[in-house]
């Protein structure tokens, strides 16, 4: 047996029982009278120990009856329940959006503003309250079951199907907001996965579900970019409970980037893009903070949102038309009268130019114009700030491991504006790795050579860094393998938009001899250029290793004599160098993702400082890999360790640190107005009665409380009467 509201019962008992007994004692305030002998009286009342309180209580049947009633009432208030066989009624799945946009403080159509997630939780709990219980006395009636799933980028089952409302409510209460974007598809898949499987002749049939249709209840603001991918099962119903107001205003940072000038790396440009989701243009101050101190404020005006073209589905358009027609005939609430139209957010941007040669943690935040205060009339504070980790400015340093002298490569590299260019014999590679010297260089070029495979014959993973690998194909976690040699091929196609190949024509490139490369399943490698026989230029990255791979020996191709070779080398060095240089895209993470990186070999005592100020101890894998996540909040995550530092890491004595910026940077989340209609892959759900949820409220506890009060009053009145 468990208790739904044990505290209520305990409090009621703690108040009522002593009061009743005290009232009983009040009654005992007696008149004193001297008599010749108490002898016969004592005999008469058989009350030999008249002073003991419980002796006094002994014979008072009225008090005992009242205590019995009181006990029953108090127990009832604690709502005891016992586990018993129930028959399942309707099944509900509560899908609760906990993404960043749900932290917007605009509340509901009525009532004081509060975070959307709180509103959603309240509505969900009210819904849970309204679930049908089994009959109180019969026990044979079906009771409803529900399941709780919370989702942002990932979905999580908070509570399996149950009819225990206390469990459901506790699961809903425990949901906390994250600051990540929204993905509905996984949540719907999860809901479908938890439906009972259909069993035919004792065999469970995957993919077919049994039982009554499930009602999906989606508590969200509808800012779900992948809604169309989510496919609720055809027999299930989807009810969309709109949280938040459609007309809520927000200006947010949807993107931020920093870049150093090519010829003057000390000049840093920070590009901030803003979006405004309301039709009115709005002025806003953008404040730039370098390492926590305000460095610059720029004012700008973000254009108002504009009407978008017909983007509605046929069903949605029909519904919109119908609602428009309704709106003419009835004067309902604004939300009912407004057809679901889609506004394209107004776009604005700010560029900061500043001299900053060292690395920095850059923060940008939006301010009310002229005041320096947080934005007014902006319900969503999460996207009013963004973070960047800018590495120090420097020209690119390149090390070439090669046994060849005076190659075409040397010629191509010597003309580059590099800070350092070092050529090292390949047999020194292991020493360099051991001494941590690789970290001093931004780009590592391996010319026709790879570190030899380990004792087990497997190609070991390369140490962390950016590599340009010529004439060899590394295996390991990059997911590449050579299946043979081909002769005499040409380039068929290449990615013309890729930064490395942007101004390169490979039409005339002939490969006299080239390995045939295949990607292993799950490999993240992409072919930048494809020959008749397979990938000819490859970009591959695996934790900490970013490599551009030219599988063929350039000496056995026409490339060195082609102008495209020099251009490619320049672009590749720049691309790989920028990777860790000014671009800093690699250390951007989004809440909901997992933070994963490789640290230099030998890093110890690794701690991760979260934006909240907490620190976490991390243990690296053998290859220096550390992972943490999924991330919950936006801000700067600072990884620090004792040991060698990478080229872009901050170094302070023996301690090195590396920052990661987590930003929401999601236009979908920033476009904060709640959506009226959600279009999933299989159906369109429009917002249900959103402002107030109707739920069955049981009145018997209040009646019990009233009964309790009446008993107390009755006893009090009775005592007054007797006392005269």
């Amino acid at each position: 047996m468990n208790w739904i509201t044990p505290m209520v019962g305990i409090i009621a008992a703690a108040v009522a029982v002593p009061t009743l007994v005290v009232l009983y004692f009040l009654k005992l305030r007696r008149r004193d009278l001297e008599v010749s002998s108490t002898f016969l009286w004592k005999k008469a009342i058989q009350d030999l120990q008249a002073n003991a309180p419980f002796q006094k209580l002994r014979r008072n049947i009225l008090l005992f009856l009242q205590l019995l009633i009181l006990g029953g009432v108090c127990l009832a208030l604690a709502q005891p329940q016992i586990k018993g066989q129930t028959i399942t009624g309707n099944r509900h799945v509560i899908l609760l959006d906990r993404s960043g946009s749900m932290t917007a403080v605009d509340g509901q159509d009525s009532g004081s503003p509060q975070p959307r997630l709180e509103t959603a939780k309240k509505q969900a709990i009210a819904f849970v309250e309204s679930l049908r219980d089994g009959g109180v006395l019969s026990g044979r009636e079906a009771s409803d079951e529900a399941m709780v799933i919370s989702f942002d980028t990932a979905a999580e089952v908070r509570q399996q199907f149950t009819s225990d409302k206390a469990l459901l409510k506790a699961a809903i209460e425990a949901i906390t907001p994250t600051e990540g974007p929204t993905r509905l598809e996984e949540a719907i898949r999860l809901a479908n996965a938890h439906k009972p499987k259909r069993v035919i002749e004792g065999n469970t049939i995957e993919g077919l579900t049994a039982g009554l249709p499930t009602n999906l209840h989606l508590y969200s603001d509808g800012r779900i970019p992948d809604a169309i991918k989510a496919k609720p099962a055809p027999e299930d119903s989807l009810e969309y409970h709109r949280i938040g107001r459609p007309e809520s205003a927000n200006i947010g940072i949807v993107g931020m980037r920093a870049a150093r000038e090519y010829d003057n790396p000390a000049k840093l440009g920070v590009y901030v893009s803003l979006e405004n989701n309301r039709p009115e243009a709005r002025p806003v101050d953008v404040e730039l903070l370098i390492d926590g101190t305000s460095a610059m404020i720029k004012g700008t005006t973000v254009a108002g949102a504009s009407e978008e073209g017909p983007r509605l589905s046929a069903a949605g358009a029909a519904r919109a038309g119908a609602e428009e027609a309704d709106a003419v005939s009835t004067t309902g609430t604004e939300s009912a009268a407004m057809p679901p139209r889609t506004l394209r957010p107004g776009v604005g941007g700010v560029v900061f130019q500043l001299e900053l040669s060292q690395g920095a943690r850059v923060q940008v935040r939006l301010r009310q114009p002229g005041t320096g205060q947080p934005l007014e009339n902006d319900v969503f504070a999460l996207d009013d700030r963004a973070f960047l980790v800018v590495p120090p400015a420097k020209k690119i340093a390149v090390v070439v491991f090669s046994d060849e002298s005076n190659s075409f490569l040397d010629i191509a590299l010597s003309g580059q504006p590099l800070s350092r260019l070092v050529k090292v014999a390949t047999d020194e590679f292991d020493d360099w790795v051991r001494l941590g010297k690789l970290g001093e260089f931004d780009v590592i070029v391996l010319e026709n050579w790879l570190p030899p495979p380990g004792k087990d014959g497997r190609q070991a993973d390369l140490p962390p860094g950016s590599y340009l690998i010529l004439g060899q194909v590394p295996g390991g976690s990059l997911g590449l393998k050579v299946t043979g040699q081909v002769r005499g091929t040409g380039i068929v196609d290449w990615l013309r938009d890729h930064p490395v190949l942007r101004s390169v024509s490979l039409d005339r490139l002939r490969l006299f001899e080239s390995p045939r490369v295949e990607f292993e399943p799950g490999s993240g490698a992409i072919a930048l250029a494809v020959s008749q026989e397979g990938p000819a230029l490859i970009e591959a990255s695996s934790l900490g290793v970013h490599a551009l791979i030219v599988p063929f020996n350039i000496d056995k191709s026409s490339w060195p004599v082609d102008v495209s070779f020099v251009v490619f080398m320049s672009s590749a060095i720049q691309y790989l160098g920028e990777d860790v240089g000014a671009g800093s895209t690699i250390r951007d993470v989004q809440p909901g993702q997992v933070l994963s990186d490789r640290l230099p070999i030998g890093a110890e005592q690794i701690t991760l400082k979260l934006p909240t100020g907490e620190t976490q101890r991390l243990t690296p894998a053998a290859d220096g890999r550390v992972t943490f996540g999924p991330l919950v909040s936006t801000g700067i995550y600072e990884l620090s360790w004792v040991g060698p530092a990478g080229p872009t890491d901050r170094k302070d004595g023996n301690t090195a640190s590396r920052g990661y910026a987590a930003n929401l940077s999601d236009p979908f989340e920033s476009n904060i107005g709640a959506v009226e209609v959600i279009e999933t892959g299989s159906r369109v759900a429009s917002a249900s009665a959103s402002s107030s949820s109707v739920a069955d409220k049981r009145l018997w506890p209040y009646l019990l409380l009233a009964a309790l009060a009446i008993i107390m009053i009755e006893w009090f009145v009775y005592n007054r009467k007797v006392y005269i």
């Binding site: 005992l28 009278l33 001297e34 010749s36 002998s37 002898f39 009350d47 006392y723």
Partner: protein, 304 residues
């Protein structure tokens, strides 16, 4: 039942016994179911053959007998000497015991005043009939006994003694009975006035009193309030003697049970007395003294 707020205390014999009562008591004399030997020649027939005027028997003359008691008429007719035997008339010892505990001083009219008056009336009857009168007090403040009073002129001594008793506190009935038994002389009639509400029990005390052949009259005096309590509401009753508390809520069932208990208690006392040849009498303290003496006690053979 309730303590008498301002008890009236008799100051002199006039307060205890008035003229009309004296005139009513005049013809009375004490009797006893038992006939005892007295110490002095009195007005009471004794078992001893003696010198009174009442003839008892004859017996043969033996040498040395008093010649004055020879029945000369028999000698004239039968020519033999017979002695005329007469009943000896002796005095009767009357012992009056009064309960002077605080509980006796309760009730309206006061039980103690009633006991004082009854004791005085009976003492007066004893004195005027030349009986030896003694009085003892159980508990209380003041002299606790007076004895060997005889004759009408000692009436004032008795009255002074009775008036000097001030009821107070409690006492042990058993110990008081022991003291009385040790101090009394001869045999006779003993009247014990009390309410008999002894928490220690009355049995041991009464057993002591009756042990030496006294003709014991147990007079239980109850106030009207004890018989029919005029109580209502929630009360804390305090025993005037030992301060013991009893918390009661007066209701019809409780009163009923109290009365039943009282009746049962009196019946127990009466049965105890009957088994030990004691006379028992329960009187209300509002009973007139002449009714007590002339009616109740006469019916029970204390006076005639």
């Amino acid at each position: 039942m309730l303590r008498t707020p301002t008890p009236t205390r008799p100051k002199a014999v006039e307060d205890l016994i008035d003229g009309s009562l004296i005139s009513k008591l005049g013809p009375l004399d004490l009797t006893s179911r038992k006939v005892f030997f007295g110490k002095l020649k009195g007005e009471r027939r004794s078992k001893k053959r003696g010198e009174s005027v009442e003839f008892a028997d004859h017996r043969a003359y033996v040498s040395g007998d008093d010649l004055r008691h020879i029945d000369w008429n028999i000698f004239a007719r039968l020519d033999s000497l017979f002695m005329k035997l007469f009943l000896e008339e002796e005095d009767l010892s009357l012992h009056i015991v009064i309960d002077a505990s605080a509980s006796a001083d309760c009730g309206e009219p006061s039980k103690f005043l009633f006991m004082q008056k009854a004791a005085m009336a009976l003492g007066y009857v004893g004195l005027v009939n030349l009986n030896r009168v003694a009085a003892s007090v159980m508990g209380g403040i003041g002299p606790n006994h007076i004895r060997d009073l005889r004759g009408r002129r000692r009436t004032h001594d008795l009255a002074r003694f009775i008036c000097s008793i001030e009821p107070s506190g409690s006492f042990s009935f058993k110990e008081s009975a022991e003291r009385i038994v040790m101090s009394r002389r001869g045999k006779g009639v003993m009247l014990v006035f009390s309410d008999y509400f002894f928490k220690e029990g009355f049995e041991q005390g009464l057993r002591l009193l009756v042990g030496r052949g006294y003709d014991v009259f147990v007079v239980q005096v109850l106030s009207p309030q004890e018989i029919d309590p005029p109580l209502t509401g929630d009360l804390r009753l305090k025993d005037v003697e030992d301060g013991d508390l009893a918390e009661i809520t007066v209701a019809a069932p409780l009163l009923k049970r109290y009365k039943a208990n009282l009746a049962a208690y009196c019946a127990t006392l009466q049965n105890f007395c009957a088994r030990r040849e004691m006379n028992f009498l329960t009187v209300r303290s509002d009973t007139p003294i002449d009714v007590l003496v002339l009616d109740y006690l006469r019916k029970r053979g204390v006076v005639r």
